[in-house]
């Protein structure tokens, strides 16, 4: 992964940007008023903290596939897990996967 990922020096800024984008998509997928005030960090868990339904994770993956396009292989990422492993992930694990997948020039650009 590291061969195609962003340069090390850019990591904190890129991770912060991607975390913001994932959190935005998560709030839209949850779609309830309380979600607007949720503090979503890398340590937030989909199941325990967000109580995300598995069908909502499908909708989240759909939005992320649309947002990041071909560069980020969510299908391959999710294929390595079963449903419990998916829903027990931290938000940060998804963010790290996205950052590691993004080609350097695109990742370094503005959101």
């Amino acid at each position: 992964m590291s061969g195609t990922g962003v340069a090390q020096a850019d990591h904190p800024a890129i991770e912060a940007r991607v975390l913001g984008e994932v959190a935005e998509d998560l709030r839209e997928v949850i779609g309830e008023e309380y979600a607007l005030d949720l503090d979503i960090t890398a340590d937030t868990t989909f199941s325990q903290d967000l109580e995300l339904e598995s069908i909502e994770f499908v909708a989240l993956a759909d939005r992320l596939r649309e947002r990041y396009g071909e560069a980020v292989d969510f299908v391959g990422f999710l294929a390595k897990m079963d449903v419990d492993q998916v829903i027990n992930m931290h938000v940060g694990e998804v963010v790290t996967f996205i950052v590691d997948s993004l080609p350097a020039p695109a990742a370094a650009g503005s959101a």
Binding site: F57, D73, D82
Partner: protein, 305 residues
């Protein structure tokens, strides 16, 4: 791409492909989930992403009234479900025969689709299909009754409102609305039985998978005896919930079925650490006893004071 109009309703669809896209001759796989307490996510995570990553062009969708698809007041008969699937394939422009994989009621639907639309089907994989020559409608209604019994209990209702948490609470409320606000129960009861003659002429290969400890395991042999090209796989130590319980083996089995059927079928090694059994509330139709004990601590505390 997530929503399309098919057969005059709005269906939630996810199409999954390997990185770089599916090859033009890749198997097209359509997954049909179970009834009421299910949606596409069970297939999406168990087999959908895995088979897409392995090279398939995978279509997952939420049945009418389920998941994120439209909940119409009526239109839940088997014939309606088949028309929805045809409408879906047409709307997606799928003009090659598809491999249909169904689970539970979705498997019964898949079998009916193979009987009625054999020219559009390359193969059928039936995971735990309720299958009867007589009384299929009553069998479908029995499944609904089990869910209704579980939901009608006062303690369960209290748990749904106060202790179930967001996920279980939403799932149960959604199931209740589907049963109470639509014709699905009557439509299920009217499910026509399968015809012996039609089954004997089924033109497509069938892979049927049951759990040895399933409450409907006694229906497996009848299916295998009537369908001419049927591979029956019974998984030891597993129940009706085999899609969830034996995900890892089903991935390997489907890989063999779709890509390498001339090779010997992969062996199933029964789990030694856990034997799955059908819970009593399914066979006896009593509310699941662990629901109330599963209250979250803060709710249990509130209720006890």
């Amino acid at each position: 791409m997530a929503e399309i109009n098919a057969n005059d309703i709005r269906l939630h669809v996810q199409r999954l492909a390997p990185k770089g896209g599916a090859a033009p001759d890749a198997p097209v796989v359509v997954m049909v989930h179970g009834m009421i307490m299910d949606n596409m996510s069970s297939f999406y995570f168990a087999l959908g992403t895995w088979l897409a990553d392995a090279g398939c062009d995978v279509i997952c969708y939420d049945l009418r009234g389920h998941g994120r698809s439209e909940r119409t007041p009526d239109g839940y008969s088997l014939a309606d479900s088949l028309a929805d699937l045809t409408g879906l394939l047409d709307a997606l422009g799928v003009d090659r025969p598809v491999h249909v994989i169904g689970n539970s009621y979705g498997a019964t639907m898949a079998l009916a689709y193979g009987l009625g639309h054999g020219d559009r089907v390359a193969s059928l994989t039936l995971i735990e299909p309720p299958f009867l020559i007589e009384g299929l409608g009553e069998e479908m209604a029995r499944s609904l009754s089990q869910i209704l019994v579980a939901m009608s209990d006062e303690e369960v209702a209290e748990w749904v409102e106060n202790g179930a948490g967001r996920v279980a609470g939403r799932a149960l409320r959604s199931a209740r609305r589907l049963i109470e606000e639509t014709t699905i129960a009557d439509d299920m009861l009217a499910t026509p039985p399968f015809s012996r003659d039609a089954l004997a002429a089924l033109p497509v290969p069938v892979l049927a998978v049951y759990g040895e400890n399933s409450d409907i395991i006694d229906q497996a042999e009848g299916l295998a005896a009537l369908v001419p090209d049927c591979t029956l796989v019974v998984l030891a130590h597993h129940t009706h919930m085999v899609l969830r319980e034996a995900t890892a083996y089903l991935r390997v089995l489907l890989g063999w079925w779709l890509f390498d059927r001339d090779a010997p079928r992969p062996d199933h090694v029964p789990p030694t650490e856990r034997r799955f059994e059908t819970p009593e509330w399914v066979t006896q139709m009593v509310p699941p006893p662990d629901l109330t004990s599963a209250r979250r601590p803060e709710v249990a505390e509130k209720l006890s004071t």
